[in-house]
Amino acid sequence: MSVPIGWFLAVSAALFATGTVGVLVRRNALVMFMSVELQLNGVNLALVAFSRLHGDLTGQVLTFFSLVVAAAEVVVGLAIIVAVFRRARTANVDELSELRW
C-alpha cells in the first residue's frame, strides 16, 4: 500500500501553516520559537516525501542538514531568550519595548 505524495505534502503544508500562524499570533518568545520548529518539521516532511518521489537521497541529506541547523538554532535562540528573561523578567515580545520609534 502506498500513500500518494499529495497527502504527505498536505500534512507538511498544514504543519508549516500551523507554525506560521503560531509565530504570527503568539507573543511569548518561547512559543513563537516552538512554532518555528513546527515549520521546520513541516519542511522536513516535504523533503523526505520529495526524496521518495524522485527516488534519490538529496532530500534526506538535506533533512539532516535541516535537523542539525535547527539544533544549533535552538541552542543560540534559547540562550538569547534566557538572557533576555534574566534581564527583563519577561519573555513576552510586546512587553519588551526598549526599541521603539
Binding site: F16, M32, Q39, L62, E73, E98
Partner: protein, 476 residues
C-alpha cells in the same frame, strides 16, 4: 578520491583564524585583545589572497557542485573581506572603550564572514542554506554580545524573525527540489528550461525563496527586524552586519534569480520589481520619521535594498553589473556611516539625532566624514552613491522598467531630506549637552579608507568598471 580545497580556502582560513582566536581567548593565561585582532586580520588577509588566486580559474564548480569558482565570487568575497577587516578594527576600538570586548567578538565576526563569503559563492541551495545559517547564527549572538537590555532585545527580535525567515527559505528549497529533483542551481535551471509550462511547485518555490531572501536583505515588507537589530547591536557590529549581510545575501539572490530561476524570468521579474518599489518607498519615508541615527540608517538600508533590487530586475549581465557596483558603494558608505556613529556615541547613549547637533564644532573631522557618507547615501555627486544609483536606474530603464526608475528617483529625493536634515543639525546647530566624541585618531584613520573609496568611486568609477564587467557573468 581527491578533494580540491582551493575553492573554499578563504572560508577555511577564516574559520581557522576564528577557532584560533576563540581557543586562544580561553587557553592563554592572559587574553591579549591586540593579539586576537592581529590573528583575525591575518585570517582575513589570507582569505583575501586565497580569493584573488581564484580569479584566473573562471568557470567551474567545485566540491561536487557545492561552490562556484567564478569572478563574481572573487569580487563579492573581496568586498565582504574588506567589510570584515574594517569591522574588526572598529569593534576592537569601540568595544574595548565600552568595556565589552571579549575574544568571542572577533571570532564570531570571522565565523559570520566565512558564512557570508560561502553564501556569495554557493552553487547549490544546500550550501546556500548552510552558509545563511552560519552567518545568521553568528550575527544573532553578536547582536546580543554587549549584554545590555536593548542589545539582548534586538538579538531576540532578530533571532525570532531570522528563524522564521529561515523556515520560509528552507520550504522554498524543498519546493524547488520537489519541482526539479535537484538542489544545484545549474540543475534547477536545466530542469526548468526543458518545460513548456511552469510547474506550480516551482512558482511556490520562487515565492518562498523570495520571502526568505527578502528577510535577509531586509527588503520591505520583510524589514521589521532591521531597525531593532541595527539599533540594539553594538554600533561596530551594526556596521559589519548592515554591509556584510546585504552584500552576501544579494550575491546569493542574484545567483538564484539569474541562474536557477532564469527560465522563470517572466515570473520573478514583477515580484522583484514590486519588492524593489515597496522597499525604496517604505525605507525612504520611514527614515524621515526617525529620531535615532541608527534607526534612520536602518530604514535607509531598507531603501538601499530596494535600489539594489531595482538593478536586479534587469536580467543578465547589465543587472548583475549594476547591482554589484551598488553593493560595493553601499558597503563602503554604510560601514563608514555606522563607523562615525560608533565614535560619536558610547554604548547605547548618544545615538539620537540631537546628540549629533553641532558635531562640526566638537569634531570637524568626524562631521566631515559623516557628511561625505550621508551625501553618498543620498546619492549626491561626486560620491559613489550617485554613480551607483545612476547605474541601477540605467539598468532598469534599459530592461524596460522605466516606472521603477521613476519611483526610485522620487524616493531618493524623499530620503535625501532625512540625510540633509542630519547634516544641517551637525553643521548649523549648537551642541546640546557636553558629550564629547571619541578623540582617538586611529579609528578616524580607519574610517578614511571607506571615505577615500566613496570619493574615488564617485569621481573615477572607471577604476572598477573593468573588473566588475568581467565579474558580472553568472553561470552557476
Amino acid at each position: 578520491m581527491r578533494v580540491e580545497l582551493a575553492p573554499i580556502a578563504p572560508e577555511l582560513l577564516l574559520v581557522g583564524a576564528g577557532i584560533a582566536v576563540l581557543l586562544g581567548g580561553v587557553l592563554a593565561r592572559r587574553a591579549d585583545p591586540l593579539a586576537h585582532l592581529a590573528v583575525s586580520l591575518a585570517g582575513v588577509a589570507g582569505a583575501a589572497a586565497a580569493s584573488v588566486m581564484l580569479w584566473s580559474r573562471e568557470g567551474a564548480t567545485a566540491l561536487a557542485g557545492a561552490v562556484a569558482v567564478d569572478r563574481f565570487g572573487v569580487v563579492a568575497r573581496l568586498v565582504l573581506l574588506g567589510v570584515a577587516a574594517l569591522a574588526l578594527l572598529l569593534a576592537h576600538h569601540t568595544l574595548a572603550r565600552d568595556g565589552e570586548l571579549r575574544p568571542e567578538v572577533p571570532a564570531l565576526i570571522l565565523f559570520a564572514t566565512a558564512g557570508m563569503t560561502l553564501l556569495a559563492v554557493s552553487a547549490d541551495l544546500v550550501t546556500t542554506f548552510v552558509a545563511l545559517e552560519v552567518l545568521s547564527l553568528s550575527l544573532y549572538v553578536l547582536t546580543g554580545s554587549s549584554r545590555r537590555l536593548v542589545s539582548l532585545e534586538g538579538a531576540m527580535k532578530y533571532f525570532l524573525l531570522g528563524a522564521f525567515s529561515t523556515a520560509f527559505f528552507l520550504y522554498g528549497v524543498a519546493m524547488a527540489y520537489g519541482a526539479t529533483g535537484t538542489t544545484s542551481l545549474g540543475g534547477i535551471a536545466h530542469a526548468l528550461a526543458g518545460r513548456t509550462e511552469t510547474p506550480a511547485l516551482a512558482l511556490v518555490a520562487m515565492a518562498l525563496l523570495a520571502v526568505g531572501f527578502g528577510f535577509k536583505v531586509s527588503a520591505a515588507p520583510f524589514h521589521m527586524w532591521t531597525p531593532d537589530a541595527y539599533q540594539g547591536a553594538p554600533t561596530a557590529v551594526t556596521a559589519f552586519m548592515s554591509a556584510g549581510t546585504k552584500v552576501a545575501a544579494f550575491a546569493a539572490l542574484l545567483r538564484v534569480l539569474d541562474v536557477a530561476l532564469q527560465p522563470l524570468g517572466w515570473d520573478w521579474g514583477p515580484v522583484v520589481a514590486g519588492l524593489a518599489a515597496v522597499s525604496v518607498v517604505v525605507g525612504s519615508v520611514l527614515a524621515i520619521a526617525q529620531t535615532d541615527v541608527k534607526r534612520m540608517l536602518a530604514y535607509s538600508s531598507v531603501a538601499h535594498a530596494g535600489f539594489v533590487l531595482i538593478g536586479a530586475t534587469a536580467p543578465g549581465a547589465p543587472g548583475i553589473d549594476a547591482a554589484l557596483f551598488y553593493l560595493l558603494a553601499y558597503a563602503l558608505m554604510i560601514v563608514g556611516a555606522f563607523g562615525v556613529v560608533s565614535l560619536v556615541s558610547q554604548g547605547e547613549r548618544g545615538t539620537s539625532l540631537e546628540d549629533h547637533a553641532g558635531l562640526y564644532r566638537r569634531s570637524p573631522v568626524l562631521a566631515g566624514l559623516f557628511a561625505l557618507f550621508l551625501l553618498s547615501l543620498a546619492g549626491i555627486p561626486p560620491t559613489a552613491g550617485f554613480i551607483a544609483k545612476v547605474s541601477v536606474f540605467r539598468a532598469a530603464v534599459e530592461a524596460g522598467h522605466w516606472w521603477l526608475a521613476l519611483v526610485g528617483v522620487l524616493a531618493s529625493v524623499v530620503a535625501a531630506f532625512a540625510y540633509i536634515r542630519l547634516m544641517v543639525l551637525m553643521y548649523m546647530r549648537e551642541p546640546v549637552g557636553h558629550r564629547e566624541p571619541d578623540p582617538s585618531p586611529v579609528p578616524r584613520l580607519v574610517l578614511a579608507i571607506p571615505a577615500a573609496g566613496t570619493l574615488l568611486l564617485g569621481v573615477l568609477p572607471g577604476l572598477v568598471t573593468d573588473v566588475l564587467g568581467k565579474a558580472a557573468v553568472l553561470r552557476w
